[in-house]
Protein backbone atom coordinates (compact mmCIF):
# COMPACT_ATOMS: atom_id res chain seq x y z
CA UNK A 1 0.00 0.00 0.00
CA UNK A 2 1.28 3.41 -0.93
CA UNK A 3 1.37 5.76 2.03
CA UNK A 4 2.80 8.89 0.53
CA UNK A 5 3.01 9.82 -3.08
CA UNK A 6 4.86 12.85 -4.36
CA UNK A 7 4.05 13.85 -7.92
CA UNK A 8 5.96 16.43 -9.97
CA UNK A 9 6.74 18.38 -6.83
CA UNK A 10 8.31 21.76 -7.57
CA UNK A 11 9.13 24.52 -5.16
CA UNK A 12 10.40 27.90 -6.29
CA UNK A 13 11.69 30.55 -3.93
CA UNK A 14 11.44 33.73 -5.97
CA UNK A 15 13.08 32.13 -8.97
CA UNK A 16 15.38 29.79 -7.09
CA UNK A 17 14.34 26.24 -7.75
CA UNK A 18 14.68 24.37 -4.47
CA UNK A 19 12.81 21.26 -5.53
CA UNK A 20 12.21 20.40 -9.13
CA UNK A 21 9.72 17.89 -10.51
CA UNK A 22 10.32 15.39 -7.79
CA UNK A 23 8.51 12.07 -8.04
CA UNK A 24 8.70 9.68 -5.17
CA UNK A 25 6.49 7.25 -3.36
CA UNK A 26 6.67 5.64 0.02
CA UNK A 27 4.94 2.46 1.08
CA UNK A 28 3.42 1.61 4.42
CA UNK A 29 5.89 0.09 6.87
CA UNK A 30 8.89 1.29 4.93
CA UNK A 31 12.04 2.91 6.25
CA UNK A 32 13.68 4.99 3.58
CA UNK A 33 16.37 7.61 3.44
CA UNK A 34 16.75 10.92 1.66
CA UNK A 35 20.30 12.01 1.05
CA UNK A 36 22.04 14.62 -1.02
CA UNK A 37 24.75 17.27 -0.75
CA UNK A 38 24.21 20.43 1.32
CA UNK A 39 21.57 22.69 -0.17
CA UNK A 40 20.12 19.95 -2.33
CA UNK A 41 16.61 20.70 -1.07
CA UNK A 42 16.12 17.83 1.35
CA UNK A 43 14.69 19.87 4.18
CA UNK A 44 12.51 21.75 1.70
CA UNK A 45 10.96 18.42 0.72
CA UNK A 46 10.20 17.75 4.38
CA UNK A 47 8.82 21.23 4.83
CA UNK A 48 6.52 20.59 1.89
CA UNK A 49 5.46 17.19 3.18
CA UNK A 50 4.62 18.60 6.62
CA UNK A 51 2.56 21.40 5.09
CA UNK A 52 4.91 24.15 6.19
CA UNK A 53 5.35 25.27 2.57
CA UNK A 54 2.72 25.08 -0.12
CA UNK A 55 4.22 23.61 -3.31
CA UNK A 56 4.54 25.90 -6.32
CA UNK A 57 3.58 22.98 -8.48
CA UNK A 58 2.77 19.31 -8.13
CA UNK A 59 1.01 17.44 -5.42
CA UNK A 60 1.60 15.40 -2.29
CA UNK A 61 -0.87 12.62 -1.65
CA UNK A 62 -0.98 11.05 1.79
CA UNK A 63 -3.19 8.00 2.29
CA UNK A 64 -5.13 8.95 -0.83
CA UNK A 65 -5.62 12.51 0.35
CA UNK A 66 -4.17 15.56 -1.36
CA UNK A 67 -2.35 17.75 1.15
CA UNK A 68 -2.68 20.90 -0.96
CA UNK A 69 -3.90 23.87 1.02
CA UNK A 70 -3.75 22.12 4.38
CA UNK A 71 -2.14 23.93 7.28
CA UNK A 72 0.67 22.10 9.11
CA UNK A 73 -1.49 21.36 12.15
CA UNK A 74 -4.04 19.64 9.89
CA UNK A 75 -1.31 17.64 8.16
CA UNK A 76 -0.01 16.60 11.54
CA UNK A 77 -3.49 15.51 12.62
CA UNK A 78 -3.69 13.37 9.48
CA UNK A 79 -0.62 11.47 10.62
CA UNK A 80 2.62 13.06 9.46
CA UNK A 81 4.95 13.98 12.30
CA UNK A 82 8.47 15.30 12.08
CA UNK A 83 11.55 16.25 14.00
CA UNK A 84 13.87 19.12 13.19
CA UNK A 85 17.50 19.33 12.21
CA UNK A 86 18.18 21.76 15.03
CA UNK A 87 16.09 20.36 17.86
CA UNK A 88 12.97 22.45 18.32
CA UNK A 89 11.56 21.34 21.62
CA UNK A 90 9.72 23.90 23.74
CA UNK A 91 12.65 24.47 26.02
CA UNK A 92 10.90 26.19 28.93
CA UNK A 93 8.20 23.56 29.28
CA UNK A 94 8.69 20.26 31.06
CA UNK A 95 9.33 17.17 28.96
CA UNK A 96 5.88 15.90 29.93
CA UNK A 97 4.22 19.13 28.80
CA UNK A 98 6.07 18.87 25.49
CA UNK A 99 4.49 15.47 24.93
CA UNK A 100 1.08 16.73 26.10
CA UNK A 101 0.99 19.65 23.70
CA UNK A 102 1.88 17.37 20.78
CA UNK A 103 -1.48 15.68 21.34
CA UNK A 104 -3.38 18.87 20.61
CA UNK A 105 -5.09 17.31 17.60
CA UNK A 106 -6.98 14.86 19.81
CA UNK A 107 -7.96 17.04 22.75
CA UNK A 108 -11.65 16.35 22.17
CA UNK A 109 -13.04 19.07 24.40
CA UNK A 110 -14.22 22.62 23.84
CA UNK A 111 -13.55 25.83 25.71
CA UNK A 112 -16.85 25.51 27.58
CA UNK A 113 -15.93 22.18 29.12
CA UNK A 114 -12.42 23.50 29.81
CA UNK A 115 -13.66 26.42 31.93
CA UNK A 116 -16.31 24.42 33.76
CA UNK A 117 -14.01 21.40 34.15
CA UNK A 118 -16.73 19.02 32.98
CA UNK A 119 -16.26 15.25 33.46
CA UNK A 120 -15.51 15.02 29.75
CA UNK A 121 -12.66 17.54 30.04
CA UNK A 122 -11.23 15.82 33.09
CA UNK A 123 -11.41 12.43 31.40
CA UNK A 124 -9.75 13.65 28.20
CA UNK A 125 -6.99 15.41 30.15
CA UNK A 126 -6.43 12.23 32.15
CA UNK A 127 -6.25 10.12 28.99
CA UNK A 128 -3.82 12.48 27.31
CA UNK A 129 -1.59 12.61 30.37
CA UNK A 130 -1.77 8.85 30.71
CA UNK A 131 -0.72 8.37 27.09
CA UNK A 132 2.15 10.82 27.49
CA UNK A 133 3.44 9.10 30.61
CA UNK A 134 3.10 5.74 28.90
CA UNK A 135 5.23 6.93 25.99
CA UNK A 136 7.84 8.36 28.33
CA UNK A 137 7.92 5.05 30.16
CA UNK A 138 8.30 3.00 26.95
CA UNK A 139 11.33 5.08 26.06
CA UNK A 140 12.60 4.95 29.63
CA UNK A 141 12.70 8.71 29.97
CA UNK A 142 9.91 8.97 32.52
CA UNK A 143 12.45 10.06 35.11
CA UNK A 144 12.93 13.26 33.09
CA UNK A 145 9.19 14.02 32.88
CA UNK A 146 9.46 17.16 35.00
CA UNK A 147 12.84 18.27 33.65
CA UNK A 148 13.09 21.11 31.17
CA UNK A 149 14.47 19.80 27.86
CA UNK A 150 17.13 22.51 27.90
CA UNK A 151 18.73 20.82 30.91
CA UNK A 152 19.06 17.45 29.19
CA UNK A 153 22.09 16.27 27.21
CA UNK A 154 21.84 16.71 23.47
CA UNK A 155 21.32 13.04 22.69
CA UNK A 156 18.49 12.88 25.20
CA UNK A 157 16.87 15.95 23.62
CA UNK A 158 16.88 14.11 20.30
CA UNK A 159 15.13 11.22 21.93
CA UNK A 160 12.54 13.48 23.54
CA UNK A 161 11.90 15.11 20.17
CA UNK A 162 11.30 11.73 18.56
CA UNK A 163 8.95 10.78 21.41
CA UNK A 164 7.12 14.09 20.96
CA UNK A 165 6.68 13.34 17.28
CA UNK A 166 5.36 9.88 18.13
CA UNK A 167 2.86 11.39 20.58
CA UNK A 168 0.85 12.69 17.66
CA UNK A 169 0.27 9.10 16.56
CA UNK A 170 1.88 9.39 13.11
CA UNK A 171 1.64 6.99 10.18
CA UNK A 172 4.67 8.67 8.72
CA UNK A 173 7.59 9.94 10.75
CA UNK A 174 9.94 12.40 9.11
CA UNK A 175 13.35 12.60 10.76
CA UNK A 176 15.44 15.56 9.68
CA UNK A 177 19.09 14.67 10.31
CA UNK A 178 18.54 12.83 13.59
CA UNK A 179 22.26 12.15 14.01
CA UNK A 180 23.34 15.76 13.53
CA UNK A 181 25.51 16.90 16.41
CA UNK A 182 25.66 13.52 18.11
CA UNK A 183 28.80 11.79 19.31
CA UNK A 184 29.61 8.47 17.68
CA UNK A 185 28.48 6.41 20.69
CA UNK A 186 25.20 8.29 20.67
CA UNK A 187 24.87 7.62 16.95
CA UNK A 188 25.00 3.87 17.53
CA UNK A 189 22.34 4.29 20.19
CA UNK A 190 20.25 6.37 17.80
CA UNK A 191 20.39 3.67 15.14
CA UNK A 192 19.09 1.12 17.65
CA UNK A 193 16.41 3.58 18.74
CA UNK A 194 15.14 4.29 15.22
CA UNK A 195 15.13 0.60 14.36
CA UNK A 196 13.24 -0.08 17.59
CA UNK A 197 10.67 2.65 16.88
CA UNK A 198 10.19 1.21 13.40
CA UNK A 199 9.64 -2.27 14.80
CA UNK A 200 7.36 -1.27 17.65
CA UNK A 201 5.14 1.34 16.05
CA UNK A 202 2.93 0.86 13.04
CA UNK A 203 4.49 3.54 10.87
CA UNK A 204 6.82 4.41 8.04
CA UNK A 205 9.96 6.42 8.58
CA UNK A 206 11.55 8.75 6.10
CA UNK A 207 14.82 10.30 7.14
CA UNK A 208 17.32 12.82 5.94
CA UNK A 209 20.79 11.94 7.11
CA UNK A 210 24.35 12.84 6.26
CA UNK A 211 26.01 10.10 8.22
CA UNK A 212 26.20 7.16 5.85
CA UNK A 213 26.55 4.75 8.77
CA UNK A 214 23.01 5.62 9.85
CA UNK A 215 21.41 5.57 6.41
CA UNK A 216 23.17 2.46 5.20
CA UNK A 217 22.35 0.40 8.26
CA UNK A 218 18.70 1.44 8.58
CA UNK A 219 17.16 2.24 5.22
CA UNK A 220 15.84 -0.37 2.86
CA UNK A 221 15.74 2.21 0.10
CA UNK A 222 17.46 5.54 -0.43
CA UNK A 223 16.53 8.48 -2.60
CA UNK A 224 19.31 10.86 -3.60
CA UNK A 225 18.58 14.42 -4.64
CA UNK A 226 20.84 17.12 -5.97
CA UNK A 227 19.80 20.63 -6.91
CA UNK A 228 16.22 19.67 -6.12
CA UNK A 229 16.17 16.79 -8.59
CA UNK A 230 15.97 13.11 -7.88
CA UNK A 231 19.19 11.68 -9.28
CA UNK A 232 19.04 8.14 -7.97
CA UNK A 233 16.94 5.79 -5.95
CA UNK A 234 17.50 2.23 -4.82
CA UNK A 235 18.94 0.01 -2.13
CA UNK A 236 21.95 1.32 -0.20
CA UNK A 237 24.41 -0.90 -2.07
CA UNK A 238 22.98 0.10 -5.47
CA UNK A 239 23.19 3.76 -4.60
CA UNK A 240 26.85 3.60 -3.66
CA UNK A 241 27.75 2.38 -7.14
CA UNK A 242 25.88 5.04 -9.14
CA UNK A 243 28.28 7.42 -10.93
CA UNK A 244 25.76 10.27 -10.66
CA UNK A 245 25.71 9.98 -6.88
CA UNK A 246 29.48 9.87 -6.66
CA UNK A 247 29.63 12.90 -8.93
CA UNK A 248 27.13 14.83 -6.81
CA UNK A 249 29.08 14.18 -3.66
CA UNK A 250 32.67 14.32 -4.89
CA UNK A 251 32.50 16.50 -7.98
CA UNK A 252 33.40 15.82 -11.59
CA UNK A 253 37.12 15.37 -11.50
CA UNK A 254 37.74 12.36 -9.40
CA UNK A 255 41.08 11.82 -7.83
Amino acid sequence: MTLLEIKDLTQLFSGLCAVSELNLSLDERELIGLIGPNGAGKTTVFNLASGFYQPTHGEIIFQGRNLAGLKPHRVSALGIARTFQNIRLWKEMSVLDNILVAQHFQLGYGLGSLFFRTPRYLKRERDIRHRALELLEIFKIDKFADEKPGNLPYGMQRKVEIVRALASGPKLLLLDEPAAGLQSTDVTELITLIQWVFDQFDLSIWMIEHQMKVVMSLCSRIAVIDFGRLIASGTPSEIQQRPKVIKAYLGDDQL
Partner: protein
Protein backbone atom coordinates in the same frame (compact mmCIF):
# COMPACT_ATOMS: atom_id res chain seq x y z
CA UNK B 1 -9.45 20.52 54.45
CA UNK B 2 -6.49 21.67 52.37
CA UNK B 3 -8.72 21.58 49.34
CA UNK B 4 -10.95 24.22 50.83
CA UNK B 5 -8.29 26.38 52.43
CA UNK B 6 -8.08 28.85 49.54
CA UNK B 7 -11.87 29.30 49.11
CA UNK B 8 -12.16 29.77 52.89
CA UNK B 9 -9.35 32.31 52.85
CA UNK B 10 -11.07 34.20 50.03
CA UNK B 11 -14.43 34.25 51.82
CA UNK B 12 -12.75 35.48 55.00
CA UNK B 13 -10.95 38.20 53.07
CA UNK B 14 -14.15 39.28 51.35
CA UNK B 15 -16.23 39.39 54.52
CA UNK B 16 -13.47 41.28 56.34
CA UNK B 17 -13.27 43.86 53.58
CA UNK B 18 -17.03 44.24 53.37
CA UNK B 19 -17.35 44.35 57.13
CA UNK B 20 -14.68 47.03 57.42
CA UNK B 21 -16.44 49.05 54.74
CA UNK B 22 -19.88 48.49 56.23
CA UNK B 23 -18.85 49.58 59.74
CA UNK B 24 -17.00 52.48 58.14
CA UNK B 25 -13.70 51.45 59.70
CA UNK B 26 -12.08 52.25 56.34
CA UNK B 27 -13.22 55.41 54.59
CA UNK B 28 -14.35 55.75 51.00
CA UNK B 29 -10.87 56.77 49.82
CA UNK B 30 -9.27 53.59 51.10
CA UNK B 31 -12.20 51.58 49.77
CA UNK B 32 -11.64 53.05 46.32
CA UNK B 33 -7.95 52.16 46.45
CA UNK B 34 -8.86 48.59 47.38
CA UNK B 35 -11.34 48.50 44.49
CA UNK B 36 -8.67 49.78 42.11
CA UNK B 37 -6.36 47.03 43.30
CA UNK B 38 -8.93 44.41 42.40
CA UNK B 39 -9.60 46.01 39.02
CA UNK B 40 -5.89 46.34 38.29
CA UNK B 41 -5.41 42.69 39.15
CA UNK B 42 -7.90 41.81 36.40
CA UNK B 43 -6.18 44.22 34.00
CA UNK B 44 -2.67 42.94 34.62
CA UNK B 45 -3.46 39.22 34.70
CA UNK B 46 -5.47 39.50 31.49
CA UNK B 47 -2.75 41.42 29.65
CA UNK B 48 -0.20 38.98 30.99
CA UNK B 49 -2.01 36.23 29.10
CA UNK B 50 -1.12 37.83 25.76
CA UNK B 51 2.18 39.54 26.57
CA UNK B 52 3.57 37.08 29.07
CA UNK B 53 2.24 33.67 28.18
CA UNK B 54 1.78 34.05 24.44
CA UNK B 55 4.76 36.34 23.92
CA UNK B 56 2.94 38.73 21.62
CA UNK B 57 3.21 42.42 22.34
CA UNK B 58 -0.16 44.05 22.80
CA UNK B 59 -0.01 47.73 23.72
CA UNK B 60 -3.64 48.68 23.42
CA UNK B 61 -5.18 47.02 26.42
CA UNK B 62 -6.90 50.26 27.48
CA UNK B 63 -8.93 50.18 24.27
CA UNK B 64 -10.66 47.00 25.39
CA UNK B 65 -11.06 48.37 28.90
CA UNK B 66 -12.81 51.36 27.30
CA UNK B 67 -15.17 49.17 25.29
CA UNK B 68 -16.13 47.20 28.40
CA UNK B 69 -16.50 50.37 30.48
CA UNK B 70 -18.74 52.12 27.97
CA UNK B 71 -20.89 49.14 26.98
CA UNK B 72 -21.61 48.10 30.56
CA UNK B 73 -22.13 51.71 31.70
CA UNK B 74 -24.58 52.46 28.90
CA UNK B 75 -26.45 49.22 29.51
CA UNK B 76 -26.69 49.65 33.26
CA UNK B 77 -27.68 53.33 33.04
CA UNK B 78 -30.29 52.60 30.37
CA UNK B 79 -31.68 49.57 32.15
CA UNK B 80 -31.74 50.58 35.78
CA UNK B 81 -31.82 54.38 36.09
CA UNK B 82 -33.64 57.40 34.81
CA UNK B 83 -31.29 59.41 32.64
CA UNK B 84 -31.48 62.32 30.22
CA UNK B 85 -30.06 60.23 27.38
CA UNK B 86 -32.11 57.09 27.72
CA UNK B 87 -35.21 58.28 29.60
CA UNK B 88 -37.03 56.11 32.11
CA UNK B 89 -35.38 52.88 33.28
CA UNK B 90 -36.24 49.92 31.09
CA UNK B 91 -36.25 47.55 34.04
CA UNK B 92 -37.26 48.20 37.66
CA UNK B 93 -34.20 49.66 39.44
CA UNK B 94 -34.61 47.08 42.21
CA UNK B 95 -33.20 44.54 39.76
CA UNK B 96 -29.92 46.47 39.51
CA UNK B 97 -28.19 44.25 42.05
CA UNK B 98 -29.00 41.11 40.09
CA UNK B 99 -28.66 42.61 36.62
CA UNK B 100 -25.28 44.18 37.24
CA UNK B 101 -23.14 41.05 36.78
CA UNK B 102 -24.97 40.32 33.52
CA UNK B 103 -24.36 43.86 32.35
CA UNK B 104 -20.68 43.48 33.23
CA UNK B 105 -20.47 40.24 31.27
CA UNK B 106 -22.10 41.97 28.28
CA UNK B 107 -19.36 44.60 28.50
CA UNK B 108 -16.80 41.82 28.59
CA UNK B 109 -18.32 40.10 25.56
CA UNK B 110 -18.34 43.36 23.62
CA UNK B 111 -14.68 43.86 24.46
CA UNK B 112 -13.91 40.27 23.46
CA UNK B 113 -15.58 40.81 20.09
CA UNK B 114 -13.58 44.00 19.61
CA UNK B 115 -10.53 41.96 20.51
CA UNK B 116 -11.43 39.47 17.81
CA UNK B 117 -11.78 42.26 15.24
CA UNK B 118 -8.33 43.55 16.16
CA UNK B 119 -6.77 40.10 16.32
CA UNK B 120 -7.90 38.76 12.95
CA UNK B 121 -5.85 41.15 10.84
CA UNK B 122 -3.02 41.60 13.32
CA UNK B 123 -2.06 37.98 13.88
CA UNK B 124 -1.09 37.68 10.26
CA UNK B 125 1.86 39.75 11.38
CA UNK B 126 4.04 39.36 14.43
CA UNK B 127 6.01 41.19 17.08
CA UNK B 128 6.38 44.90 16.37
CA UNK B 129 3.49 44.92 13.95
CA UNK B 130 1.07 43.66 16.55
CA UNK B 131 2.27 46.40 18.90
CA UNK B 132 1.61 49.04 16.24
CA UNK B 133 -1.80 47.62 15.34
CA UNK B 134 -2.92 47.45 18.96
CA UNK B 135 -1.82 51.04 19.58
CA UNK B 136 -3.80 52.05 16.51
CA UNK B 137 -6.81 50.04 17.71
CA UNK B 138 -6.60 51.79 21.07
CA UNK B 139 -6.78 55.17 19.32
CA UNK B 140 -9.53 54.09 16.94
CA UNK B 141 -11.68 53.00 19.89
CA UNK B 142 -11.11 56.26 21.75
CA UNK B 143 -11.78 58.44 18.71
CA UNK B 144 -14.94 56.49 17.99
CA UNK B 145 -16.18 57.15 21.51
CA UNK B 146 -15.24 60.84 21.31
CA UNK B 147 -17.24 61.18 18.12
CA UNK B 148 -20.45 59.59 19.40
CA UNK B 149 -22.25 62.52 20.96
CA UNK B 150 -25.13 60.48 22.43
CA UNK B 151 -22.80 58.90 24.95
CA UNK B 152 -21.19 62.17 25.89
CA UNK B 153 -18.36 62.30 23.36
CA UNK B 154 -15.27 63.95 24.76
CA UNK B 155 -17.20 65.07 27.84
CA UNK B 156 -17.54 61.54 29.07
CA UNK B 157 -20.46 59.51 30.31
CA UNK B 158 -21.89 59.48 33.81
CA UNK B 159 -24.77 58.16 35.88
CA UNK B 160 -23.25 54.89 37.04
CA UNK B 161 -23.25 56.07 40.67
CA UNK B 162 -27.06 55.99 40.49
CA UNK B 163 -26.85 52.33 39.44
CA UNK B 164 -24.76 51.63 42.54
CA UNK B 165 -27.31 53.53 44.66
CA UNK B 166 -30.08 51.47 43.07
CA UNK B 167 -28.22 48.35 44.13
CA UNK B 168 -27.97 49.69 47.66
CA UNK B 169 -31.77 50.04 47.75
CA UNK B 170 -31.92 46.28 47.44
CA UNK B 171 -29.59 45.66 50.36
CA UNK B 172 -27.34 48.16 52.03
CA UNK B 173 -23.99 46.50 51.60
CA UNK B 174 -20.83 47.71 49.83
CA UNK B 175 -21.82 46.18 46.51
CA UNK B 176 -18.82 47.28 44.49
CA UNK B 177 -16.40 45.53 46.85
CA UNK B 178 -18.47 42.37 46.41
CA UNK B 179 -18.56 42.57 42.60
CA UNK B 180 -14.94 43.55 42.13
CA UNK B 181 -13.88 40.74 44.43
CA UNK B 182 -16.06 38.14 42.73
CA UNK B 183 -15.00 39.09 39.23
CA UNK B 184 -11.36 39.31 40.24
CA UNK B 185 -11.48 35.77 41.60
CA UNK B 186 -13.38 34.59 38.52
CA UNK B 187 -10.83 36.15 36.15
CA UNK B 188 -7.92 34.52 37.93
CA UNK B 189 -9.80 31.23 37.92
CA UNK B 190 -10.51 31.51 34.18
CA UNK B 191 -6.90 32.34 33.35
CA UNK B 192 -5.56 29.63 35.60
CA UNK B 193 -7.87 26.96 34.24
CA UNK B 194 -7.04 28.03 30.71
CA UNK B 195 -3.29 27.99 31.22
CA UNK B 196 -3.21 24.72 33.15
CA UNK B 197 -5.11 22.82 30.44
CA UNK B 198 -3.29 21.11 27.61
CA UNK B 199 -5.12 23.50 25.28
CA UNK B 200 -3.66 26.46 27.15
CA UNK B 201 -0.19 24.96 27.19
CA UNK B 202 -0.37 25.43 23.44
CA UNK B 203 -0.12 29.16 24.21
CA UNK B 204 3.22 28.62 25.93
CA UNK B 205 4.32 26.46 23.02
CA UNK B 206 3.54 29.31 20.63
CA UNK B 207 5.70 31.69 22.63
CA UNK B 208 8.63 29.29 22.74
CA UNK B 209 8.53 28.07 19.15
CA UNK B 210 5.55 28.89 17.01
CA UNK B 211 6.71 26.86 13.99
CA UNK B 212 7.21 23.75 16.09
CA UNK B 213 3.80 24.29 17.67
CA UNK B 214 2.03 24.50 14.33
CA UNK B 215 3.83 21.43 13.04
CA UNK B 216 3.06 19.48 16.22
CA UNK B 217 -0.69 19.82 15.54
CA UNK B 218 -1.37 23.02 17.53
CA UNK B 219 -3.87 25.21 15.69
CA UNK B 220 -1.81 28.31 16.34
CA UNK B 221 -4.08 30.81 14.60
CA UNK B 222 -7.12 29.71 16.52
CA UNK B 223 -5.37 29.60 19.87
CA UNK B 224 -4.01 33.08 19.31
CA UNK B 225 -7.49 34.39 18.55
CA UNK B 226 -9.05 32.63 21.53
CA UNK B 227 -6.32 33.84 23.88
CA UNK B 228 -6.58 37.39 22.64
CA UNK B 229 -10.37 37.28 23.05
CA UNK B 230 -10.14 35.98 26.61
CA UNK B 231 -7.60 38.67 27.41
CA UNK B 232 -9.64 41.51 25.92
CA UNK B 233 -12.89 40.16 27.35
CA UNK B 234 -11.48 40.21 30.87
CA UNK B 235 -10.14 43.70 30.21
CA UNK B 236 -13.71 44.68 29.31
CA UNK B 237 -14.93 43.38 32.65
CA UNK B 238 -12.22 45.36 34.40
CA UNK B 239 -13.45 48.40 32.45
CA UNK B 240 -17.05 47.89 33.57
CA UNK B 241 -15.97 47.62 37.19
CA UNK B 242 -13.78 50.70 36.85
CA UNK B 243 -16.64 52.75 35.36
CA UNK B 244 -19.01 51.78 38.18
CA UNK B 245 -16.40 52.36 40.86
CA UNK B 246 -15.74 55.99 39.94
CA UNK B 247 -19.21 56.52 38.48
CA UNK B 248 -17.92 58.42 35.50
CA UNK B 249 -16.00 57.55 32.36
CA UNK B 250 -14.09 59.79 30.02
CA UNK B 251 -12.46 58.61 26.78
CA UNK B 252 -9.26 60.38 27.86
CA UNK B 253 -8.83 58.00 30.77
CA UNK B 254 -8.43 55.06 28.37
CA UNK B 255 -5.61 56.40 26.25
CA UNK B 256 -2.11 55.04 25.83
CA UNK B 257 -1.21 56.08 29.36
CA UNK B 258 -3.68 53.53 30.72
CA UNK B 259 -2.29 50.86 28.38
CA UNK B 260 1.19 51.74 29.61
CA UNK B 261 0.04 51.32 33.20
CA UNK B 262 -1.14 47.81 32.31
CA UNK B 263 2.18 47.06 30.62
CA UNK B 264 4.15 48.35 33.62
CA UNK B 265 2.18 46.04 35.88
CA UNK B 266 2.83 43.01 33.69
CA UNK B 267 6.56 43.70 33.39
CA UNK B 268 6.87 44.61 37.06
CA UNK B 269 5.23 41.34 38.06
CA UNK B 270 7.10 39.14 35.66
CA UNK B 271 6.12 37.81 32.29
CA UNK B 272 3.83 34.82 32.32
CA UNK B 273 3.41 34.74 36.07
CA UNK B 274 -0.15 35.00 37.41
CA UNK B 275 0.95 35.56 40.99
CA UNK B 276 3.51 38.09 39.75
CA UNK B 277 0.81 40.06 37.97
CA UNK B 278 -1.33 40.04 41.10
CA UNK B 279 1.50 41.25 43.33
CA UNK B 280 2.47 43.88 40.77
CA UNK B 281 -1.11 45.17 40.51
CA UNK B 282 -1.29 45.62 44.28
CA UNK B 283 2.15 47.23 44.51
CA UNK B 284 1.53 49.46 41.52
CA UNK B 285 -1.85 50.70 42.76
CA UNK B 286 -0.35 51.57 46.13
CA UNK B 287 2.56 53.30 44.44
CA UNK B 288 0.25 55.38 42.26
CA UNK B 289 -1.51 56.61 45.38
CA UNK B 290 1.71 57.24 47.30
CA UNK B 291 3.10 59.22 44.39
CA UNK B 292 -0.09 61.27 44.02
CA UNK B 293 1.44 64.34 45.77
CA UNK B 294 3.97 64.51 42.93
CA UNK B 295 1.06 65.23 40.57
CA UNK B 296 2.23 65.43 36.99
CA UNK B 297 5.76 64.41 37.92
CA UNK B 298 4.23 61.05 38.73
CA UNK B 299 4.27 60.38 35.02
CA UNK B 300 7.96 60.93 34.99
CA UNK B 301 8.48 58.63 37.93
CA UNK B 302 6.44 55.73 36.60
CA UNK B 303 8.00 55.40 33.13
CA UNK B 304 11.34 55.79 34.88
CA UNK B 305 10.36 52.82 36.99
CA UNK B 306 9.73 50.82 33.83
CA UNK B 307 13.20 51.71 32.56
CA UNK B 308 14.74 50.73 35.88
CA UNK B 309 12.90 47.37 35.85
CA UNK B 310 14.11 46.66 32.32
CA UNK B 311 17.68 47.57 33.28
CA UNK B 312 18.08 45.69 36.51
CA UNK B 313 15.45 42.99 36.60
CA UNK B 314 14.13 42.42 33.11
CA UNK B 315 12.28 39.30 34.21
CA UNK B 316 10.19 41.27 36.75
CA UNK B 317 9.45 40.38 40.37
CA UNK B 318 8.54 36.76 39.63
CA UNK B 319 9.70 36.18 36.06
CA UNK B 320 7.90 33.11 34.68
CA UNK B 321 7.71 31.64 38.14
CA UNK B 322 4.73 31.45 40.44
CA UNK B 323 4.57 31.98 44.18
CA UNK B 324 4.17 28.24 44.52
CA UNK B 325 7.51 27.73 42.73
CA UNK B 326 9.30 29.99 45.19
CA UNK B 327 7.54 28.63 48.27
CA UNK B 328 6.94 24.97 47.38
CA UNK B 329 4.92 24.48 50.57
CA UNK B 330 2.16 26.59 49.05
CA UNK B 331 1.60 23.85 46.50
CA UNK B 332 -0.29 21.88 49.10
CA UNK B 333 -2.90 24.61 49.15
CA UNK B 334 -2.88 26.18 45.75
CA UNK B 335 -1.01 25.87 42.51
CA UNK B 336 -1.14 28.76 40.12
CA UNK B 337 -0.38 26.44 37.26
Amino acid sequence: MKRFSVPILLVVLLTTLMGLAWFEVIDLYIQTIILFMGINIITSTSLNLVNGNMGEFSCGHAGFIAVGAYVSSILSVALFTKSKTFGAPLLPPELAAYGFPLVLICGGLAAALTGLLVAIPSFRTRDDYLAIITIAANYIIISTIINIDTIGGARGFMGMKRVVFAMEKCAEIPWMILWVFIFMVLSILIIRRYMSSTYGKGVEAIRQDEVAAEIMSVNTNRIKLVTFMISSGLAGIAGGLYAHTIGYVNPKSFDLLKSTEALVMVYLGGMGSISGSIIAAVVFTLMLELLRPLQIIKWVAIPLLLIIIMQFRPEGIMGHRELSDIFPRLKKFYKFK
